[in-house]
């Protein structure tokens, strides 16, 4: 064999090996989540098999995300769109989906996942509803990811869809989902233990962002600072809150860091209740960067606030 032929053979083998090394063994799914908590759950189920982008930031108000044109490009490239549903994103997501021109994320496709489909929604309005009740969600409270049990349900839903879209990785998705559920179940015992002294404690929240958390861990949300969803508190409502908080012994004010501080501070001063600044989404505080860390940080803050 001539040197030239040998060189060509070695070069071809090297090129082949290099290609095999650089080419992924599977195509990564491009997953776009409307909110970072859904993105966090997607990462738990799919691990390195997906690239996850969250459109909303954990620090912002998820009802009022700007429908930036750059999101159109992101959705155009998506294999999967995970949205919360129950009208949480109705103010900004629909025109993005329309302009994304992506058949994979249209309704009814495997690449379109609506988390509300598998969750038991609470605070579903009964009786006649209209906007005199404020910016009420007619399908129920959409802030359901603040219950870790709902996180498990969503994880199962994601596993089902990911298995359809990447069937070769299904065993891995199932394994990850099982591990995620085991992690949640194990942490639940710790969380419930830490929250046990707060069972039955009366609290108020700024918006109805923590109702699912309260139901899961036994807090009693007796009122909200917003008299109606999306309506800022009036002086009369604040006066009534002070009276109610004193009468009922409300100990905690739950609010996200992006809310105005003046009213909660006033209420705290007047009633002795403590403000617990907690995120309502993953990424809402520096400590809440994954789904488990999100609950760790909420519970730590609540326990510390109640103890002061």
């Amino acid at each position: 064999m001539t040197m030239r032929k040998a060189f060509i053979i070695v070069a071809m083998v090297a090129a082949g090996l290099l290609s095999a090394w650089t080419l992924p063994l599977y195509a990564k799914l491009n997953v776009v989540a409307s909110t970072p908590d859904l993105g966090a759950i997607a990462r738990e189920v799919a691990g390195s098999r997906v690239d996850v982008i969250s459109l909303a930031k954990g620090t912002e108000d998820p009802h009022f995300v700007d429908a930036k044109p750059s999101f159109i490009r992101i959705l155009n490239q998506a294999d999967v769109l995970i949205e919360g549903g129950a009208d949480l994103e109705v103010g900004w997501l629909p025109p993005l989906i329309l302009n994304a021109r992506n058949p994979k994320i249209q309704l009814g496709q495997a690449g379109r996942i609506i988390a509300a489909d598998v969750v038991r929604l609470i605070e579903v309005p009964i009786g006649p509803i209209d906007r005199s009740l404020g910016d009420v969600h007619p399908f129920g409270n959409p802030h359901f990811t603040v219950d870790p049990m709902n996180g498990k349900l969503i994880a199962r839903l994601l596993e089902e869809h990911f298995c359809v879209l990447a069937s070769g990785e299904c065993a891995s998705f199932k394994d990850n989902r099982n591990k995620f559920e085991e992690k949640i179940d194990a942490r639940m015992l710790e969380w419930q233990k830490k929250m046990a002294p707060l069972k039955g404690v009366r609290v108020i929240s700024y918006h109805k962002s923590f109702s699912y958390f309260a139901e899961r861990f036994g807090l009693r949300v007796v009122n909200t600072i917003e008299p109606k969803p999306g309506i800022p508190p009036s002086a009369a409502h604040v006066r009534n809150l002070v009276s109610q908080m004193r009468t009922e012994g409300v100990r905690l004010i739950l609010m996200e860091p992006n809310r105005e501080r003046k009213t909660p501070s006033f209420l705290a001063e007047e009633t002795g209740a403590k403000i617990a600044m907690i995120p309502s989404m993953v990424g809402g505080t520096p400590e809440a960067q994954d789904y488990v860390g999100f609950f760790d940080s909420i519970i730590e803050t609540l326990v510390a606030s109640a103890g002061r």
């Binding site: 700007d66 155009n76 103010g91 900004w92 800022p232």
Partner: protein, 479 residues
């Protein structure tokens, strides 16, 4: 939990399941089958069912909470408990879905319907004011600027439709017009999107906005001068392509029928005048007589909090000042928005929007009035800054500037004040403040200070108090 207690539990759950199934058959008769008293009965049944489910869940949780004295359960028992829990959850979800569905015994295929009313009280310093937009506050006193009926719905797996029917009342006379009705494709291949029907031309940023979306009470002066009082719209088709770039970049091309008062700079309406030239009846005869618009627009984030959108548009079409005359319009637009990552209800924010337009109009000869041909040009910009300084409050300021050149041969034929107002230099400064009690209503106070060459550059003042009310379900607006 002991075996007999589990059996009782399962029987209760299955009974609740039967009740739920029975109720579901009421709804399966289809929308419109239930009368008002039947609906009340169904709602009562659902409330009863929910109460039963709540008691069942409470029972299950109590039983699960009790320490087990039974021998270690076998796998079959655990599996049965899991199935029971799952059934309970499925039942609860079914009740919830039925309750939601009962609220929309509203057929699920109804479009989103909304009605938006825009009204204002206006005061002017001059009898002949300088508000020429059809949806501007035009008269001293109360104005019905715009009442819009908007419908949006999905046609099929391929298209969505938007419809806008608008009414205004001027001096007691009501006008109703079909403003827009167009289909948009949902997911064409190759990143294409098709729009077809009657629609606002997607030139720049403001032209495609409906009056209730405006950040000021009136149409920008340059848009009024070049696109006319109603904005530029017409029947046609638009194809756009989303480029495969890591940032948003879209190319848009459209062809529309440029006729009527909604295409002032183009075929417009016979008998109207543009820059003194009287327009003839010039129908569309060939493909070159359509109005063509190319546009390119891009957007990117400078930071997580600052978004920029930059676009450039052009219009090429015939005009009716002569049998072969053409109009070209060029424009550039810029939008920059700052919104912090920890905003609440979308506040605070700062948004800056600027558009520049230039029209090159091939005019004449006007054989009726004996005006020789010329190439009048009109150009100008508006630049507006909005500051949402606290929740529900936005302060704004808009600067308008327009001017003209060329076409002096037709100047003697600008016989009415209205015609002269549409030529030459004009400035308008407009500060305003808006209060939004909710997303569905607003009040706006605005002051206009105008200086126009046609008015000897004497200040013309206008003060406006605007109110908007929206009911129903209106689709979200684009950025």
């Amino acid at each position: 939990m002991s075996a007999p207690k589990r059996s009782v539990c399962r029987v209760c759950i299955l009974s609740a399941f039967c009740i739920a199934t029975g109720t579901a058959t009421v709804f399966s008769q289809g929308p419109g089958a239930a009368g008002p008293s039947e609906i009340d009965n169904v709602k009562k049944q659902m409330l009863q069912m929910e109460e039963q489910l709540r008691m069942l869940r409470q029972k299950v949780e109590e039983l699960e909470a009790k320490p087990s004295t039974a021998p270690k359960p076998n796998l079959t028992q655990e599996k049965a408990d899991g199935i029971t829990e799952q059934r309970l959850r499925d039942l609860e979800r079914q009740v919830q879905q039925e309750r939601t569905a009962s609220r929309g015994i509203l057929a699920p295929f109804n479009p989103k319907i909304s009605v938006n009313g825009l009204f204002s009280a206006a005061m002017f310093s001059e009898k002949d004011n300088l508000n020429f937009g059809d949806h501007d506050p035009q008269v001293q006193g109360f104005n019905v600027q715009n009442v819009e009926l908007h419908l949006q719905g999905t046609v099929d797996p391929y298209f969505q439709v938007d419809t806008n029917i608008v009414t205004t009342i001027k001096k007691g006379e009501t006008t109703i017009e079909l403003e827009e009705m167009y289909g948009t494709s949902l997911a064409l291949p190759a990143n294409l999107q098709l729009v077809a029907g009657q629609y606002f031309t997607r030139f720049g940023r403001q032209n495609r906005q409906h009056p209730h979306q405006w950040d000021f009470v009136d149409q920008p002066v340059i848009l009024n001068r070049i696109f006319g009082p109603d904005g530029l719209r017409g029947p046609g088709a638009q194809l756009s392509w989303l480029a495969p770039t890591p940032f948003y970049l879209e190319f848009i091309g459209s062809a529309q029928q440029g006729e009527g008062e909604i295409a002032t700079s183009f075929l417009s309406k016979p008998g109207e005048t543009v820059r003194g030239y009287t327009l003839i009846d010039r129908p569309v005869r060939k493909i070159g007589d359509l109005l063509y618009m190319p546009r390119v627009v891009t957007s990117f984030g400078l930071t997580d909090e600052v978004t920029v959108a930059l676009g450039s548009s052009a219009l090429f079409g015939p005009n009716a000042s002569g049998t072969n005359n053409r109009t070209n319009v060029y424009g550039a637009d810029l939008y920059v928005k700052w919104k912090p990552v920890n905003h609440s209800h979308g506040f605070p924010f700062v948004a800056w929007q600027t558009e520049y337009l230039f029209r090159d109009y091939q005019a004449g000869p006007d054989d009726v009035n004996g005006i020789p041909p010329s190439r009048p040009k009109d150009f100008g910009f508006y630049s507006q800054l909005l500051y949402g300084f606290t929740y529900r409050w936005v302060a704004g300021f808009r600067l308008n500037y327009v001017n003209s050149s060329g076409g002096d041969v037709a100047a003697p034929f600008l016989v009415t004040l209205a015609q002269r107002d549409l030529v030459g230099e004009r400035w308008r400064l407009a500060p305003n403040v808006s209060f939004y009690p909710s997303e569905f209503s607003k009040f706006r106070l605005q002051y206009n200070l105008d200086f126009a060459a046609s008015r000897g550059r004497e200040a013309v003042h206008g003060v406006f108090l605007q109110a908007e009310f929206n009911i129903g379900e209106h689709g979200a607006h684009s950025f």
